[in-house]
C-alpha cells in the first residue's frame, strides 16, 4: 500500500517537474520558492491542507477576474450584454492585448469586493444571460481568429426562479458545446472557486490551468455535506472526501497544469500573482498555438474522451 502511494506521488512529481508552467517563470528568486512548492506537493495534501485551499480560494481579498485583467491585458475593452435580454455582471467579457502583442477574447466570472459590488455582481453567480454573453464573446473570437482566455471563479450558476425560466441548464450545456467547436486556441484558468456546472460552462478548453490555491469541484463542500452528511456544518469532511484542490485535480487528469501563487496565496501579492498567471497562460498558448485548427478541436475532444475512472466485471 505504502509502495503504491509512493509510486503515485513520484509519478505526480515527475509530471509537475516536466511542466513548463512551473519551470518557465523568470522572476528572480522564484525558482527556489517553486522548488519548495514542488516539495510541498510531493506529499499528498491532507484534509487540513485541502480545507486551507477552500479558504484561500474564497479569501475576501483574493484577486478577481478584473484585478488580473488590469494587470495582464493592455487596451482592455469590455463587451456588455447578451444581445437578447440583459447584461449579466457576474460574468465579464472583453477584448484585450496579451503578452504585449496579440488580441485575445476574455471571459471570466466576476465577484464583488464590498456588499454593494457583491450584490451588483450577484456573488459571481451568473444567470443564463451571463453564459449567453460568454457565447457571444466566443463567437466573436472565432470570427476574428482571436484566442480565448477564460477565468473561472464562481460558487456556481445562480439557482433562482428566473434563472431556471431563462434556461440555466441549457445555457450551461450550450456554452460548453460552443467551446468544443472553437477553432481558435483556448486556455481556461480556475482562479478561485470552480463551482460545478457554472464553472465548467466556461472551462472546456485546450489547456485548463488552476492556481495553486484554487478549488474545482462538482458541488460546494457545504452542499455536499448537507446532502450526504445531512449537515452543512460537515463541510470540512466533505471537502476532504471529494478533494477539490489543485494537486488532486492534476493527479486525476482533470487539469493540465498548476499556476504557482506568491507566498501566502494570491491575495498576499496581487501583482506577483498576476505575473505568474500571465506566464502560465502564455506558456499554455505556446503549446497549442501552432496546431492545425481542426487537429486542435479533435485533440480537445480526445482529452475529455478519457476523463473518468472505470472498472469492469
Amino acid at each position: 500500500m505504502a509502495n503504491e502511494d509512493e509510486l503515485r506521488l513520484r509519478e505526480r512529481l515527475s509530471k509537475l517537474g516536466a511542466m513548463k508552467l512551473l519551470r518557465g517563470t523568470k522572476l528572480s528568486g522564484e525558482l527556489a520558492r517553486l522548488q519548495d512548492q514542488l516539495d510541498h506537493l510531493q506529499a499528498d495534501p491532507s484534509a487540513e491542507e485541502i480545507w486551507q485551499s477552500v479558504e484561500l480560494a474564497r479569501h475576501a481579498d483574493r484577486p478577481y477576474t478584473l484585478d488580473y485583467v488590469e494587470r495582464i491585458f493592455e487596451d482592455f475593452f469590455e463587451l456588455h450584454g447578451d444581445r437578447g435580454r440583459a447584461d449579466d455582471l457576474a460574468l465579464v467579457t472583453g477584448l484585450g492585448k496579451l503578452g504585449g502583442g496579440r488580441t485575445v477574447v476574455l471571459v471570466g466570472h466576476q465577484k464583488g469586493r464590498d456588499l454593494k459590488e457583491r450584490t451588483k455582481r450577484n456573488f459571481g453567480m451568473a444567470y443564463p444571460e451571463g453564459y449567453r454573453k460568454a457565447m457571444r464573446a466566443m463567437a466573436l473570437a472565432e470570427r476574428h481568429g482571436f484566442p480565448l482566455v477564460t477565468f473561472v471563479d464562481t460558487p456556481g450558476a445562480y439557482p433562482g426562479v428566473a434563472a431556471e425560466q431563462h434556461g440555466q441548464g441549457g445555457a450551461i450545456a450550450r456554452s460548453q458545446a460552443a467551446m468544443v467547436r472553437l477553432r481558435v486556441p483556448t486556455v481556461a484558468c480556475v482562479i478561485g472557486e470552480g463551482g460545478s456546472g457554472g464553472a465548467v460552462a466556461i472551462a472546456l478548453a485546450d489547456r485548463v490551468l488552476m492556481q495553486e490555491n484554487a478549488i474545482y469541484s462538482v458541488i460546494s463542500p457545504e452542499g455536499c455535506a448537507a446532502i450526504l452528511w445531512r449537515d452543512a456544518g460537515e463541510a470540512r469532511k466533505a471537502a476532504a472526501a471529494f478533494k477539490p484542490d489543485a494537486a488532486h485535480c492534476l493527479e486525476l487528469g482533470v487539469i493540465d497544469g498548476i499556476v504557482a501563487e506568491p507566498e501566502g496565496g494570491a491575495h498576499a501579492d496581487a501583482d506577483a500573482a498576476a505575473q505568474l498567471l500571465e506566464q502560465g497562460i502564455l506558456a499554455a498558448f505556446e503549446e497549442i498555438d501552432s496546431m492545425d485548427p481542426s487537429d486542435r478541436r479533435r485533440e480537445r475532444r480526445a482529452k475529455y474522451r478519457v476523463m473518468g475512472v472505470l472498472a469492469s466485471v
Binding site: G169, V200, A203, V218, F242, K243, L310, S312, V313
Partner: protein, 282 residues
C-alpha cells in the same frame, strides 16, 4: 421491487413487511389523485395513472420494452462498473452504495445502452434509471453515453437518449463534473459526422445531466409533469427565499419558456420517436 403480486387493497399492503415510511406514499399510490393500483394495472397503462394522467417513474428496462420493437434491443457495455477513484466515504463507503444499488436494481450503473429499432427505425438507445443512485452521472454513465454516440456515428443512425437523473454523482467528485464536457464532446463528434440526437427528458432530469447532453438534442421533448431544472426546487427556495411558482421547473413551464420542442405523453412517445427517426433517416 415488484412485490405486489396478489395485492388486494391498500389496507393489506400497509400491513406488509415493507411498510412505507410515514409521510412517504406507496410507490403505486398516485401522488396526483391518490388512486392506488396493482403493478399489473400500471404496466397496462405504461405506468400512467388512468384517473389523472400522472406519469409514474419507469425503470430503464421497462422503458426499453415500451419503446423498442420487440426483440430488437441489443445491450452493449454490460461489463462496465464504477470504480472508486477518490476512495470516497461519507456516512457509508461509495463501494457499499454501489453494491447495494446493483443488488436492488439489477443494473451495473444508472444507464442502459444498446442498439434498437423503434417502429423499424434503427437507432442507438441510451436510457437512464433513477433507481440506481438517483440516476446520478459518474464515469460509467458518461462513458456508456459516449460509446453510444460513437456507435451512432459509425452506424449512421440517430441516438435516442431518455434521461432521468438527479445530476452528477458527488461520490466521484470532479471526475463526475468532467462527464459534462465529456458527453458534450461526444455529441459534437456525432453532429460532425452528420448524426442526430433526440433527447427525451423524464422526471426528474436535473443538475449536471440537464446541463450537458440532455439539453443538446437536435430535438428535445419531455414527458408531462417532468421536473427539469438545473437547481432543484428545495435548493432554489433555500438559497433565494423566493416563493416558487406551482409549476417551477416542470416540463410545462419549460415548454412555455421555449426550452422544449414538445411535451409528449408516454402513450405517444413510441410513435413520436418513430416519426422523428424517419425524419432523420439518412
Amino acid at each position: 421491487m415488484s412485490s405486489g403480486q396478489g395485492r388486494v387493497d391498500v389496507e393489506v399492503e400497509s400491513k406488509r413487511a415493507e411498510e412505507p415510511t410515514p409521510g412517504q406514499a406507496h410507490p403505486n399510490t398516485c401522488p396526483g389523485c391518490g388512486s392506488h393500483y396493482r403493478d399489473d394495472e400500471l404496466e397496462q397503462t405504461l405506468r400512467v395513472c388512468p384517473q389523472c394522467g400522472h406519469h409514474f417513474r419507469v425503470r430503464a428496462r421497462d422503458r426499453i420494452d415500451q419503446l423498442a420493437d420487440a426483440g430488437s434491443f441489443s445491450e452493449e457495455d454490460i461489463e462496465l462498473r464504477s470504480a472508486d477513484p477518490l476512495a470516497f466515504f461519507d456516512l457509508r463507503p461509495y463501494t457499499e452504495r454501489l453494491a447495494e444499488a446493483e443488488i436492488d436494481t439489477g443494473l451495473g450503473d444508472a444507464i442502459v445502452c444498446g442498439s434498437a429499432q423503434i417502429e423499424e427505425g434503427d437507432c442507438q438507445l441510451a436510457v437512464m434509471d433513477f433507481a440506481f443512485m438517483g440516476g446520478s452521472m459518474g464515469s460509467v454513465v458518461g462513458e456508456k453515453f459516449v460509446r453510444a454516440c460513437e456507435r451512432a456515428s459509425t452506424a449512421g443512425t440517430p441516438l435516442v437518449s431518455v434521461s432521468a437523473s438527479g445530476g452528477a454523482r458527488m461520490q466521484e467528485g470532479i471526475l463526475a463534473l468532467m462527464q459534462l464536457p465529456k458527453t458534450i464532446c461526444a455529441i459534437d463528434e456525432l453532429h460532425e459526422s452528420g448524426g442526430a440526437m433526440i433527447s427525451v427528458l423524464t422526471h426528474p432530469t436535473t443538475g449536471g445531466v440537464l446541463a450537458s447532453f440532455a439539453s443538446l438534442g437536435d430535438v428535445v421533448v419531455a414527458e408531462p409533469g417532468a421536473l427539469m431544472s438545473f437547481a432543484g426546487p428545495r435548493v432554489v427556495a433555500q438559497t433565494t427565499r423566493e416563493k416558487l411558482p406551482d409549476d417551477f421547473g416542470l416540463a410545462e413551464s419549460n415548454y412555455r419558456y421555449g426550452h422544449l420542442d414538445g411535451i409528449v405523453p408516454r402513450g405517444e412517445l413510441r410513435p413520436t420517436l418513430g416519426r422523428l427517426l424517419r425524419l432523420f433517416a439518412r
